[in-house]
Symmetry: C2
Subunit: 212 residues, 2 copies
Amino acid sequence: MILYDYFRSSAAYRVRIALALKGLSVKHEPIRLRRDASAQRRPEYLAKNPQGLVPALELDSGAVLTQSLAIIDYLDAVYPEPRLVPAEPILAARARAVALTIACDIHPLNNVRVTSYLETEFELREERIDAWRRHWILEGGLEAIEQSIEAAPFCFGQAVTMADVCLVPQLYNARRFGVCFAHLPKIVAVDAACADLPAFQAAHPSRQIDAE
Amino acid sequence: MILYDYFRSSAAYRVRIALALKGLSVKHEPIRLRRDASAQRRPEYLAKNPQGLVPALELDSGAVLTQSLAIIDYLDAVYPEPRLVPAEPILAARARAVALTIACDIHPLNNVRVTSYLETEFELREERIDAWRRHWILEGGLEAIEQSIEAAPFCFGQAVTMADVCLVPQLYNARRFGVCFAHLPKIVAVDAACADLPAFQAAHPSRQIDAE
């Protein structure tokens, strides 16, 4: 399998964690989002992923899967150990809800393509974009997640789920953007528990071949 | 079950379609997002859903599920007929990817809380917000989805999937915002095929008890 990847993409980081937890090794093909903005728009890549975003996972059959949470669900179906979506439907819904809060309500408002639009089309200055990022990361985002998780020691008990796989990359982004979440003790505890696991360590942006 | 709902929320509309396809009836409890912006911020509702968004589904046990795609996956696990997430993993990943493109990359950039921020915090005028909406609905959104689906007659063949359940409400939003998608023939065909189904008709915003 080939993972079209970018070290700093928190969506790609989710998939790297899932692959590492399942012990799957893939070829990493970096798509440099910032250094070469046109890389995503190259016809060869758009033919694989019409959205031009990362991550995308190319299977050995040549089929290309897109959208990080869809890729994680695919991996969970085909390589079920360890399960990242719990088997019990209500627990699965809770883990999915945390993952989706991050993937739908926090991350899209903070990613490069959107903040670039704010800069170039709306001509907003950096401090206003920082306030925008902080607002969506905390309000209705991490602050709501804090009320939904257990931290025992992971988001939902003793096993890592899709919730942890999405939370840790979002916390990496929060730090990058200088957004403090120290007032959210359960989130801080989950982050620390995950940091001890080799799979989370191996997937960290600083450990990727394209890290700057 | 109680669905915390808002007639115009495209996320709630997705869950209404899924419930109707599965023949499930629920009590609808409208949370009026626009007329009474504070309704989402009432402590009683925040105790159920810390994000303060709709939809939320309260089960007969009192458990409350949030995030439309997590709710649809829950319904699919507990009431599997008809299946909205295909059993075959690659097809499931394709249907999920379309649903997530809408739920992560289009809808969050166009919903009320975000466009309200653009209006009030960034003091942007209506025509610039219209351009923002159009950009995210089309580019990397519906235009990418057009290349990923079959329209035969639904997004992925003869059975409705989670992709169709998310696409139709997003097209309703596109029309509301005056965004034309007539140049995307597969999307137009899927929309027409779904419009013939009683479940999609029953879930339409105009048919809800809180419709204005």
